[in-house]
């Protein structure tokens, strides 16, 4: 029971003090879970992160659930998850209430007039960085271009686009796996 409470507290602190989303939390989680509490060995932690990273959903919640489950079973999983999200929900609720109250004030409106174009830039920049890190070449460039075209121009729900992309990627992954096996079998 003590461990469950400690899990909650660790993730609560991490949730309350990290700005910038899930990936920014990662070093803090590592410090708490691997270095300080020594709950999980270092290489196991990073192996697990590699898997958790590829799952859909909230990255921080997936990490909390896995660490919690690994350390203290189902109770631990829920304690860690609640710890990670409760600060976020509370602070955001307060801000939302305040913001909706003061949104129509001219000062607030002019500040946000400046912020909105910045937000657009902050969304475009990581998408281009992602294209770079995915090593998109002239042949595969059709994938992001088609995605943008379908969602932005044709107004097709991104949900369908993702489902189609998943189907394509799974076929691609099986194909890669098979050709890798063939290479192994040859010599």
């Amino acid at each position: 029971m003590k461990k469950v409470f400690e899990l909650f507290l660790s993730f609560f602190k991490i949730g309350a003090f990290t700005l910038g989303g899930g990936y920014a939390m990662l070093t803090l989680v590592e410090k708490a879970v691997v270095d300080r509490k020594k709950w999980i060995p270092n290489d196991e932690f990073w192996d697990m992160i590699a898997v958790v990273q590829s799952l859909p959903g909230v990255f921080a919640v997936n990490t909390a659930l896995y660490v919690g489950h690994r350390v203290a079973g189902t109770k631990g999983a829920f304690a860690a998850m609640l710890g990670a999200i409760i600060p976020s929900i509370t602070i955001m609720l307060l801000l939302a209430t305040v913001f909706r109250e003061f949104r129509d004030y001219p000062v607030v409106e002019s500040v946000f007039k400046g912020i909105r174009p910045c937000v657009v830039a902050l969304i475009l920049a990581p998408s281009l960085r992602m294209i770079k890190s995915a090593k998109v070449n002239w042949k595969t460039a059709i994938i992001p271009i088609a995605t943008v075209f379908l969602i932005w121009w044709c107004k097709i729900s991104p949900a369908y686009v993702i489902l189609a992309a998943i189907a394509g990627s799974v076929i691609y992954a099986f194909y890669i796996n098979r050709s890798a096996k063939k290479k192994e079998a040859k010599p």
Partner: protein, 179 residues
Amino acid sequence: MIYLQLLWVFIKIGVLGFGGGYAMLSLIEHEVVNHYAWMTTTEFADMVAISQMTPGPISINLATYVGYTTAGIGGSLLASFALCLPSVIMVYLILRLFMDKKNSALLDNTLKGLKPAIAGLIFAAGLSMMNLQNFPDFGRGQYNISVIICVLAFVASYFFKANPILLIVLSGVVGFFVY
């Protein structure tokens, strides 16, 4: 009814949200602005800025805000939990399956194929926010401050990896003095 809609929307986003908070933006925008019209494109932009500046996972912040706007405190809790629900199920089912090295290579390759599509998804979210509501002085007067802010923020973020919170605060200050 609104509760059921929130539940359905955020479960869907929890299941399909590959690639973190930014990748979810496109999904959230489609549902919240285009499909259900729960908020305008300017409020969506404001919400993204506030979520970015609030500690914790960005997608949880977004879910809380959307839930609060549409159905009060109950709605905000419901939306956040709906977003987490698929994760809970997945950690119990899929994670066990994929901790196996062989399966995890398959998942890895799937993700590699998915990545360019996710990049496109995020880009589309940014593009659809490029409108006259978010760039009010575009084509009016000789100085397009909003375009200048956007370009400078893009350069700072893309080439210099500037802290997004700092950029939001700076452009807020510019907005305060200019508008």
